[in-house]
């Protein structure tokens, strides 16, 4: 048994095609997920039970089930219903790509809203008291005081979540999508060289994870530069 580098080099172009789809999935679902997360967060901290309850149920369901099962429910499951097959969203729900984006976004929304809530709860009470003493209204307090601090506090956890999202995009290969893992699986089925192909793909995933971590690390450093003692 030898490690065939020639095979690795010859399959790199195909893998890069898969990389495009992986990144598309990642960017789209993390963006939609973030929007969902902010909406869920606002519902969750609104203090009104008819807004809090749906948010809590949503978070509970999507954090309690495997993403693979969620993808299967959406991709294989939804077409069971007549009204979905005839509804306006059918052109989207027919495509495995949009089903994956939907499942990953819903999943990210649930996790990220919890992360953001942690950030909001971590904001110093004194700051908010000071703001209300200065007569700043509640919406303004949230926008100008809570949000910037909460975003900074939740950045480390958020970067971890983006990394798990990157890894979750690999599940798209189970619904016939040719993302990086999907390409690798077809290549392995053709060549039966699992080590060469899977390990090279794994290295690409690790590079993405590393880049995400570094990027967020820089962003965090920049956002907390006021906390550092000034030089000299």
């Amino acid at each position: 048994m030898t490690f065939d580098f020639g095979l690795v080099f010859s399959s790199i172009p195909k893998m890069l095609e898969g990389l495009g789809l992986t990144i598309e999935l990642l960017l789209l679902s993390s963006f939609i997920g973030l929007v969902l997360a902010v909406i869920t967060l606002l519902m969750r901290i609104s203090g009104r039970w008819f807004l809090v309850a749906p948010a809590v149920v949503y978070i509970y369901i999507f954090r309690g089930t495997p993403i693979l099962v969620q993808i299967f429910v959406i991709y294989h499951g939804l077409p069971q219903f007549e009204f979905i097959r005839e509804g306006i969203f059918w052109p989207f729900l027919r495509e495995p790509f949009w089903c994956c984006v939907l499942a990953l976004s819903l999943n990210a929304g649930a996790y990220v809203s919890e992360i953001l809530r942690g950030g909001v709860l971590g904001v110093d009470k004194g700051l908010l008291e000071a703001a209300s003493a200065l007569g700043i209204s509640k919406p303004h307090r949230f926008i100008y005081i809570t949000s910037p601090i909460a975003i900074r506090l939740s950045l480390p956890a958020y970067s971890n979540d983006i990394i798990s999202m990157t890894k979750a995009t690999a599940l798209a290969s189970t619904v016939t999508l040719l993302d990086m893992t999907g390409v690798a699986r077809t290549l392995v089925a053709e060549t039966f060289a699992p080590y060469e192909i899977f390990i090279s793909v794994a290295i690409i995933y690790m590079v993405i994870a590393w880049l995400v971590q570094k990027g967020f690390g820089l962003a965090e450093q920049r956002m907390s530069r006021h906390l550092k003692p000034t030089a000299g």
């Binding site: 048994m1 089930t65 429910v73 294989h76 599940l171 793909v201």
Partner: protein, 216 residues
């Protein structure tokens, strides 16, 4: 029940891997440290599905090559997907456990360890009787989260053909033609199991911090 068996096996393996890994990270040996670091970086940066595929297909190829060197007439060795799956999941969760346990070991008060030394306990005895019971309390919240992700990772093993609930649901769909009903049942089963795990971890946390609660 297959997912619960995989869960139990992988959990035990992952805890063992986590303890060894964190001990390596905290050891003074440079070599042990870097092995443990490479392990955690690799297994936390690679998708779970990919690790599973590498372990399953990789083990088949490796075992076949080894067997062929003894007996060239062997064509192919099939690895039981159940054990490949359990092992792959244990490796992934073990990497997260390593990090959690490392943090928890660092949180153990150094005075306790010094006291154990002064009482003449060996390194190993200190590890088992002082460090582990102390760090356990600190590791619990994260440990609970890792148990949850382990449980959810068990859904992946249907990909390599283990007949667990997702696989059975797929089979059932071909007969009943009601995919939504089948998969929602699977989701509900997972939701029940994860809820039970959450409750158990909450109870364990309460138990572990009992001595702190009474003082309030």
């Amino acid at each position: 029940m297959i997912i619960l068996r995989i869960f139990a096996i992988s959990l035990v393996l992952a805890v063992i891997i986590g303890l060894i890994g964190s001990a390596m990270k905290l050891s003074r040996s440079r070599l042990a440290q870097s092995i443990a670091n490479v392990y955690t970086v690799v297994f936390r940066g690679t998708p779970e599905l990919l690790v599973l595929l590498i372990v399953y297909f990789g083990a088949a190829v490796t075992l076949t090559a080894i067997a062929q060197s003894f007996d060239p007439s062997i064509k192919f060795i099939d690895v039981p997907p159940f054990w490949a799956g359990a092992f792959a999941i244990a490796l992934i969760v073990g990497a997260y456990m390593t990090e959690t346990f490392r943090g928890a070991f660092l949180g153990v008060e150094p005075g306790l360890v010094e006291a154990a030394r002064a009482l003449g306990l060996s390194n190993f005895q200190t590890f088992v009787y002082v460090r582990i019971p102390q760090m356990w309390r600190l590791a619990l919240p994260n440990f609970g989260n890792h148990m949850l992700s382990l449980m959810k990772d068990t859904a992946l093993i249907s990909v390599i053909g283990v007949e667990e609930i997702l696989f059975v649901a797929e089979m059932a769909t071909t007969v009943t033609l009601k995919p939504f009903t089948m998969y929602i049942v699977v989701a509900l089963i997972y939701l029940c199991i994860t809820s039970v795990i959450t409750l158990v971890v909450m109870a364990l946390e309460k138990y572990a911090n009992k001595h702190l609660a009474t003082s309030r």
